[in-house]
């Protein structure tokens, strides 16, 4: 990793996204305290945590495989951190455990063992176990990757609402850009140990600073040195009135995607363009000459 | 984990240093001293003990030990291989069958050796059956107290040590390989010889390591099964520290034995370590 530097605000939902091997998990482990940086610092609330072992840092990690203690019940798993802190009073611990389990909608499963509950439930226990300690930052290492598609979508919303309710800063690591864009207040894109860009989802999507960011976050048409998203390209048979950017092209094929159609066409200079258009607008035939046009504001030059 | 780790290692390291390395160093020192009157050692320092090893009597014992260990190991290998092969392909009953092989090993080695004495003595079960029940022979067969009995005892005692690593390797063998061999026209024996045996080399090496070394340094088996008539290195060493009261000589032979052990470990590689 090289020159990775970013700030997470209090109560922010911050995502670290990138392909596997880009260093996002390493960054997480550096913050959690499982590894020490060779240069640079980790600051928590402005104070350096250098040399501080993981068990003294006020951050908590939700592991990718949940890492629930197999020999402890759900309740004892959640209570683990509280007990280590020397919290007195079995009653107060039980109360806080119950509150945490309620927060993740798992009330009633206190006495089950990890192998007796489902994958989704295990993830909630992992969340409750970390949240009950009210850390300054919650680190989530690809928490949704082990779930099936349907469960993943449900959990996304739950995570977002959980973050809003608790007000704890979430550092969410994922390789799925859709997840990152839909959940975060701000996103950081990493690639091969480098930080490519940090910004809000609309910022990074509409104004990518590098080619990698542009292509990682969605489809891009590279036309005449500029990038344009397929959904920004309009298509018509007639020449549009005073277009900001336009090009003439020949339709090659189209792909039916259900809610929209991807129209593939070839410009006069040979470059290929994919336009995303609504189904009802599409009656173009292969070989037809069409006009493509988009706004200058939709272009980006990284 | 810095400081806790030191605390965790300290007792183990201390035991190894004081009760393993240090004793061996003392033996090393003793091998260069002279014998005391009632056992023990005295100065002056001398190489006499090492020189005595070259006496033909002792070289014969050395050679006999190597020979017996080699024969026992080979027999173990030959006998264990089909068994391990069978267990590895036994499907659901694998673990049960393997445990049945290992179970005798978990009981007493001394008792298992004694059990063979019970069978093979002149008044033992085998001779009683042959002599009195079936009248096959007219006088008891000398089945015990010879080299053959020692080899039998060693093979019996260390067979599980050969089965286990062989099984570990054979279990990982892809059954499709044998099917492929059959498909290409190889009869079962050829398939086993040309495919299974070469692929099970790591297991064979580990097994030989685990059997040859204890056989080389055997004491109990040649003593009981051989009746003290078959003298191996182990018996010779024990003798020096008890009745013969020649500790320096015993020390020298012990170091020779250790050197042989280390040599075998080197030659057969560290395969045993991986499979253990």
């Amino acid at each position: 990793m090289d020159g990775v530097s970013f700030c997470i605000g209090r109560g922010e939902f911050f995502s670290l996204v990138g392909p596997s091997g880009c260093g996002k998990t390493t960054t997480l482990r550096l913050i959690a305290g499982f590894e020490e940086p060779t240069s640079g610092q980790v600051l928590l609330d402005g104070r350096s945590v250098e040399g501080m072992p993981a068990y003294r840092r006020d951050v908590s990690t939700v592991f990718q495989n949940y890492a629930l203690f197999p020999h402890l019940t759900v309740a004892r798993n959640v209570a683990f951190g509280l007990e280590r802190r020397g919290q007195t009073g079995k009653a107060s611990i039980a109360e806080r455990v119950a509150k945490a389990l309620d927060l993740v909608h798992l009330g009633g499963k206190e006495s089950r063992l990890p192998h007796q509950i489902s994958g989704g439930e295990r993830q909630r226990v992992a969340l409750a176990r970390s949240l009950v300690l009210e850390p300054k930052v919650l680190l989530l290492d690809e928490p949704l990757s082990a779930l099936d598609a349907k469960l993943r979508k449900e959990m996304r919303q739950e995570l977002k609402s959980l973050q809003r309710r608790t007000g704890i800063a979430f550092l969410f690591v994922t390789h799925d850009q859709e997840e990152a864009l839909s959940l975060s207040d701000r996103v950081a894109i990493m690639h091969r140990g480098l930080l490519e860009q940090v910004g809000t989802p609309p910022e990074v999507y509409r104004s990518p600073k590098t080619r990698f960011v542009a292509e990682f976050l969605g489809d891009v048409n590279w036309l005449r040195g500029a990038g344009v998203r397929p959904e920004a390209v309009r298509v018509s048979r007639t020449m549009p009135i005073a277009p900001e950017r336009a090009a003439a092209a020949v339709v090659e094929s189209q792909t039916f995607l259900g809610n929209c159609v991807h129209l593939h066409s070839k410009l006069d200079d040979g470059s290929l363009c994919v336009a995303e258009i609504a189904q009802r607008e599409c009656d173009f035939q292969p070989g037809e000459r069409v006009h493509l046009w988009w706004r200058a504001a939709d272009e980006f030059r990284p | 984990m810095k400081t806790p780790r030191t605390w965790f290692l300290a007792p183990g390291a201390f035991v190894m240093l004081s009760l393993f390395f240090l004793p061996l160093l003392i033996v090393l020192a003793y091998s260069f001293l002279s014998r005391g009157a009632y056992g023990g050692v005295l100065p002056p320092w001398t190489l006499e003990s090492y020189a005595r090893i070259f006496d033909p009597l002792y070289l014969a014992i050395l050679w006999r030990s190597i020979w017996i260990a080699a024969v026992s190991t080979t027999l173990c290998l030959v006998l264990a291989f089909p068994l391990a092969f069978y267990i590895a392909r036994a499907g659901a009953r694998k673990t049960l069958l393997l445990n049945l092989v290992m179970l005798p090993f978990w009981t007493s080695f001394l008792i298992r050796t004694y059990a063979w004495m019970f069978l093979l003595r002149d008044t033992g079960l085998v001779n009683t059956l042959l002599l009195q029940s079936f009248h096959i022979v007219r006088s008891p067969l000398p089945l015990l107290f010879n080299t053959g009995a020692v080899i039998l005892g060693l093979v019996y005692g260390y067979l599980p040590f050969m089965v286990l690593p062989l099984y570990a390797t054979l279990e990982k063998l892809d059954p499709a390989l044998l099917d492929a061999a059959a498909d290409l026209g190889a009869p079962p024996t050829v398939a086993v010889w040309r495919i299974v045996v070469p692929l099970s080399r790591p297991g064979m090496i580990a097994g030989c390591l685990l059997v040859f070394i204890p056989c080389l340094g055997a004491y109990l088996t040649p003593d009981l099964m051989g009746g003290g008539k078959t003298v191996m290195i182990g018996n010779l060493i024990q003798n020096q520290f008890t009745s013969a009261r020649d500790w320096p000589f015993g020390a020298a032979i012990s170091l020779l034995l250790m050197a042989l052990v280390l040599l075998v470990m080197r030659v057969l590689g560290n395969k045993g370590e991986e499979l253990l």
Partner: protein, 253 residues
């Protein structure tokens, strides 16, 4: 070949169990030689009435118990530390101690005790046997625990650290409870190895502490005795039961 293998396996199992089975059968035989002469439990009774045997058994049990507790404790800690970070000389010496011929280990410990005790004016006895047993059984414990640790999920320890447990607490509240079946299996192995040992024990035991194997050896050298048969059966059944329990634990979780 399809028919050869099962038949061979049968023969092999017979070979393995025949001697012990024969001992077992004839331990109930009312005869001093290998002839069946009627059922009796006399020899078993004789074992319990033999004071020397009983004392030897007690000694063996005591030695095995103490050595097991010590070796399991020391070995578990050492295996854990070695799992975290390798220490070549220690692992190497443990393997060497495992493969070393017992006779060499025995005489080296004898020389060691004689050399140290000379200055300390101590004698050989139970304490030397116990020390010797701890020394040679340590390797067994470390190997069993290391094998268990190889399949241990490291992220569980990291999660515990993350939740605020320091390294010692991680070991105590997460690692040890999950390692417990392996620890008990190692202890049972240790007990068996210690109880059965003859060579090393006979060299360092001194005059007054006879163990059961030493007595059995002496009796075996003199000749076959039905009491030894009965005793052998009892020991075999006892140790076999321990082995089965240990095997159960290995498979647990």
């Amino acid at each position: 070949m399809k028919r050869f293998l099962p038949a061979y396996a049968c023969a092999a199992y017979l070979f393995l169990y025949l001697p012990l089975a024969a001992l077992g059968v004839f331990s109930f035989s009312n005869s001093k030689i290998a002839v069946w002469h009627g059922f009796t439990l006399a020899w078993y009774g004789g074992v319990f009435r033999n004071a020397a045997l009983m004392e030897g058994a007690l000694n063996s049990l005591l030695i095995a118990a103490v050595a097991t507790v010590a070796a399991t404790f020391i070995g578990t800690l050492a295996a854990y530390a070695l799992w975290k970070k390798r220490l070549a000389w220690l692992t190497g010496s443990l393997y060497l101690s495992l493969l070393s011929p017992e006779i060499v280990t025995g005489i080296s410990l004898l020389a060691f005790f004689q050399w140290t005790f000379h200055s300390l004016k101590l004698q050989l006895g139970m304490h030397t046997v116990i020390l010797a047993h701890i020394s040679f059984s340590l390797a067994y414990v470390v190997i069993v625990i290391l094998a268990r640790l190889r399949t241990f999920d490291r992220s569980l320890e990291e999660a515990a650290l993350d939740l605020g447990a320091n390294e010692w607490q991680v070991f105590r509240f997460v690692t040890v409870p999950l390692l417990l079946p392996g620890i008990v299996a190692a202890a049972l192995l240790c007990f068996t190895v210690s109880f059965d040992d003859y060579v090393i024990t006979s060299l360092v035991a001194g005059v007054n502490s006879e163990t059961l194997p030493m007595i059995i050896y002496a009796m075996a050298r003199k000749g076959v005795s039905p009491e030894v048969n009965a005793l052998s059966v009892m020991i075999t059944v006892g140790l076999g039961a321990l082995a089965l329990i240990s095997g159960r634990l290995e498979r647990a979780r």
